[in-house]
Symmetry: C2
Subunit: 303 residues, 2 copies
């Protein structure tokens, strides 16, 4: 924290945003900082109004606000909060955005398509955010367009803590090549083998076929499918069926961000997944949840 | 248009946003400019992706995107579009935002409350918007925080066109002092008297009592309640009942922005309002609608 050089952590204030409640308390506690929960009013027409209910002049503000669904409303609340903290005379503004929406739209995939994450990072900076911390942002270069200082937490190792307690014969499976590095980290913590599924999309039919890319014997193994997020759960369900068809004894899934949209839970369960592990970047009830308050706070302190 | 000095209007391109469909075609026609409708994809998790489907390099882009409900999503789409148009090499970017959300949050009402419209205007500019046109922005200083050039259309006079055809013994009523200037303009066009209702809110009970502030005899008159917007319709319903209780023969309402939230239509009808007049800044079906394409285009051309 900037505050360390100029009077210690006592100068920092954690501002808990409307979508920050699952992490703001823990972060304030870990930092030894005051917690101020932001007030929110919702109007009949759909507009909201945020309020920081006390002076923060001269203090290092840490806004905690995730941007899960409804993403656009949570983003606007974050922009309003950063602007307000800036106008109220905060010395610095750090935004902790545990789940960062639009991070998969990190380049222009075709001429004329929005690079949505770049546009979002641009306006976050313009609103007064000096530093941005996020968790597992899909690709390591996702924050490229942010002009301030960037902090990224990759908590796959931490996510393996409860997994290691529950599983005796682990084998880590990445559902696609993009998660191979995550699988490697997970396998190192669990001290086991890992592999990935090579997805090939038929360019004509759009159908996805899969094959085991690396060597791997799933017989009698408890497979842990590792990914950055679960959205509709389609990828996870395919991976689970793939693992069982290759002899797996059990399949569980560990993912950082549990978006869980469109009946993802049922889709995954029907594919035989016995347990879901996740983190509290997004609130969710049907999973074993890992609290990231400590890891986020350490990252804030160590910069 | 900047284009006039460098090759005529043919250089302009109107980009119809996902919430611009009721005005983009008319504006393109009036400007004699090409219309390009933006493509929109919606993902299962709630994210959207906009795409400008053809090159706009070197052209003067006019993005038409209103920001009615869901406001925050329509705002994000506008930010994404401005950023994309900028990256695609547009020579200038004008945003036509017929209804501008958050315009009533135009100052910090109390310590720590967000000045939401200022924050929004800041990020619009940061996204690449050079010029901003909006319609009837609640207060004349609402666009103060926008750093680019500003264009404001006040279409109360135009809104009186269909009113004057339907009403023979008009009397204009502003539902509160804030709409007095709008009532004056309307009365001038209709060539009739006008007055306003002096709302007093009991500071203890919060109850609103009303009294006729100026002289005015409603006997046998067809009252036209004039306001900038209808949100829940509560204010309009009170004004209608007030007018009837003072002898009015008929009450209609004319408002620029028809937000019409939370059963506003029924609330107004039950209060005796016989007809609603509005403009197409927001799509709506149960009103006599005035098309503002021509007025908006003239303002764009005359700057």
């Amino acid at each position: 924290m900037k505050s360390q050089g100029r009077g210690g952590r006592g100068n920092a204030v954690v501002l808990g945003g409307p979508a920050g409640s699952n992490l703001d308390g823990g972060i304030a506690r870990e930092l030894g900082a005051e917690l101020v929960r932001v007030h929110l009013r919702n109007f009949p027409d759909g507009e909201c109004l945020v309020k920081i209910p006390q002076s923060i002049r001269g203090r290092d503000a840490v806004i905690v606000q995730s941007t899960y669904f409804p993403q656009d409303t949570h983003i606007m609340q974050l922009l309003f909060l950063a602007d307000t903290a800036s106008r109220m005379g905060a010395r610095s503004i750090t935004a902790v955005v545990p789940y960062l929406a639009y991070m998969r739209q990190n380049k222009s995939f075709a001429d004329g398509e929005a690079a949505s994450i770049s546009a979002l990072l641009k306006v976050l900076y313009a609103s007064g955010v000096d530093s941005l911390l996020t968790v597992e942002p899909h690709r390591s270069d996702a924050l490229f367009a942010f002009k301030g200082s960037k902090l990224i937490l990759n908590p796959i190792d931490r996510l393996m803590d409860p997994v290691s307690k529950n599983i005796r014969r682990p084998f880590v499976l990445a559902p696609d090549k993009g998660s191979l590095e995550r699988a490697r980290v997970a396998a190192t913590v669990l001290n086991c083998d890992y592999t990935y599924i090579d997805k090939e999309r038929n360019p004509v039919t759009g159908e996805v076929s899969m094959r085991d890319a690396a060597s791997g014997n799933f017989e009698d193994k408890e497979i842990v499918v590792v990914d950055d997020m679960i959205s509709t759960g389609g990828t996870i369900a395919l991976a689970s069926r793939f693992a069982y068809s290759h002899g797996a004894a059990d399949v569980s899934v560990a993912a950082v961000h549990l978006l869980m949209c469109n009946s993802a839970y049922n889709r995954i369960r029907h594919a035989g997944v016995s347990r879901i592990y996740g983190t509290n970047t997004i609130p969710y009830e049907n999973a074993v949840m890992v609290d990231l308050s400590k890891e986020i706070s350490e990252l804030l302190e160590w910069r």
